[in-house]
């Protein structure tokens, strides 16, 4: 929503048996629920068949008229955990 401060991500996937989880799997909507110390689950693959899944990540930002001028930055840490 242009004119409103927003930061979010979404993802798509191809190949393998992986899947993006809601709410990050929408074609047009974005979400962001993680914080510096609280991870959010983005995708899963319940089939350990060793076939690769390619995930594409989209980043969205909107600002309002009174968003302070500045340089903004963050980093997102991506981790993966195998369930053996």
């Amino acid at each position: 929503m242009a004119g409103t401060e927003q930061f979010g991500i979404r993802a798509t996937y191809s190949g393998g048996d992986g899947a993006v989880l809601a709410p990050y799997n929408d074609n047009v909507k974005y979400a962001y629920s993680a914080s510096e110390n609280t991870p959010a689950v983005l995708a899963v693959d319940l089939n350990g068949n060793d076939v690769s899944t390619m995930y594409s990540i989209y980043y969205l930002a909107n600002i309002s008229g009174n968003t302070e001028q500045s340089e903004y930055s963050t980093y997102i840490t991506f981790t993966i955990t195998g369930n053996f």
Binding site: E68, Q69, S73, F84
Partner: protein
């Protein structure tokens, strides 16, 4: 043939002995539902990357009183170099869940550094770079039952928080195998260390300010010594008092971190012959003093702007003022502001001896953002 028969006898005897031997001992089983959820996967090639570990597994046999859980990290991990100090028992949380649910939960165990009581576990790091963690059951109530789920947190994901120590990730990317021996059960977990696990995202928000006036020509029409007049923006210009009328509005917005201010500058109403209407300061009076020369302006803010008190025309304050030819601030904000609408009021009164003529002036408004 005799040799073969003797050999079979020996094997049979051995089998019987093995069976007798295991009759008094629980058989080992492989751990199941194993995982190590790390907070960082990046390698420590260019910078030290420390990671929390949440190691989870189901032990089919269980861990009995006095038994141990031994977690051995492969070479490359280092539990002795964290700025908060080397890993110790305070950097470890252990949970036992009798009903595995795939999440790290259940009953939190009491962890001590050494000499555990019957309800405690000791946690001791040892080996090169503290890569071996040994949890030792102190007794009958520090156990994990058969088929229970054990979760072991190491690092700042424990109740110790950000003052806890963590394992340093290896400097070389690749697969690393963590081995676990829990009582008589055992298993491995593979983790993957990669070149970089972080995406840095940057954005630039530029300085902005918008400012506009809704009208550039306003007028009083015919002034009257018996009643106030207010300027309006459409012909026929002007409106009779005593009720005030908005002449025009101005719109301002900025992302300046310290907001903005708006000033005006201009002369008072002046005729072609050089006669003037006196500039006035009016306090708490919507229509001023009819019969006395007065020219003044007042403003009303839309939402969160502040109007300088002398110009605060908002009901019931009804203040007006005018300072000729001096750049004078009359409204401001001290923080970034989305669109703010400010309404302008122009008041004029004349006396019975005010010279006839066509009076006019031009006011210049300037909005300045404070970044």
């Amino acid at each position: 043939m005799k040799t073969i028969k003797n050999t079979l006898k020996i094997l049979s005897l051995t089998a019987v002995l093995i069976c007798i031997f295991h009759a008094g001992k629980v058989l080992a089983a492989p751990l199941t539902s194993k995982s190590d959820s790390m907070s960082r996967l990046g390698n420590s090639t260019t910078e030290a990357v420390y990671s929390d570990h949440t190691i989870q597994f189901v032990t089919p046999t269980g861990v009995s009183s006095g038994q141990t859980i031994v977690i051995t990290f492969p070479s490359g991990f280092n539990g002795a170099t964290h700025p908060n100090g080397a890993l110790d028992f305070s950097d470890v949380n252990v949970f036992v869940n009798a009903v595995p649910d795939g999440t790290c939960g259940g009953t939190q165990q009491d962890i001590v550094s050494a000499a555990p009581t019957a309800s405690q576990w000791s946690a001791v790091f040892s080996g090169a770079d503290n890569t071996v963690l040994t949890l030792t059951s102190g007794g009958a109530t520090a156990v994990a039952g058969a088929n229970s789920e054990v979760c072991i947190k190491i690092g700042q994901n424990t109740t110790t928080g950000t003052t806890a120590s963590q394992y340093l990730n290896p400097t070389t990317s690749g697969s690393y195998t963590i081995s676990i021996v829990a009582g008589d059960d055992s298993g491995d977990i593979v983790t993957r260390i990669i070149d970089n696990d972080r995406v840095t995202i940057t954005a630039h928000v530029t300085e902005t300010i918008t400012f506009s006036l809704s009208d550039y020509e306003v007028g009083f029409g015919n002034l009257n010594p018996t009643g106030a007049r207010f300027a309006t923006g459409s012909e026929p210009y002007g409106a009779d008092g005593p009720t005030s009328v908005v002449a025009h509005t101005m719109s301002v917005s900025t992302n300046g971190s310290s907001g903005y201010e708006i000033t005006y500058i201009g002369n008072t109403l002046t005729s072609g012959a050089g006669d003037t209407i006196d500039a006035a300061t009016i306090t708490g009076d919507e229509d001023g003093t009819p019969g006395t020369e007065q020219f003044a302006i007042g403003f009303v803010a839309g939402t969160d702007a502040t109007v300088v008190p002398a110009y605060n025309q908002a009901n019931p304050t009804f203040n007006y003022s005018f300072v000729p030819n001096v750049e004078t601030p009359f409204v401001y904000e001290t923080a970034p502001s989305d669109t703010e609408i400010v309404s302008a009021y122009y008041l004029a009164n004349i006396s019975g001896v005010t010279p006839a003529g066509l009076y006019s002036t031009s006011l210049t408004y300037v909005a300045t953002a404070n970044f």
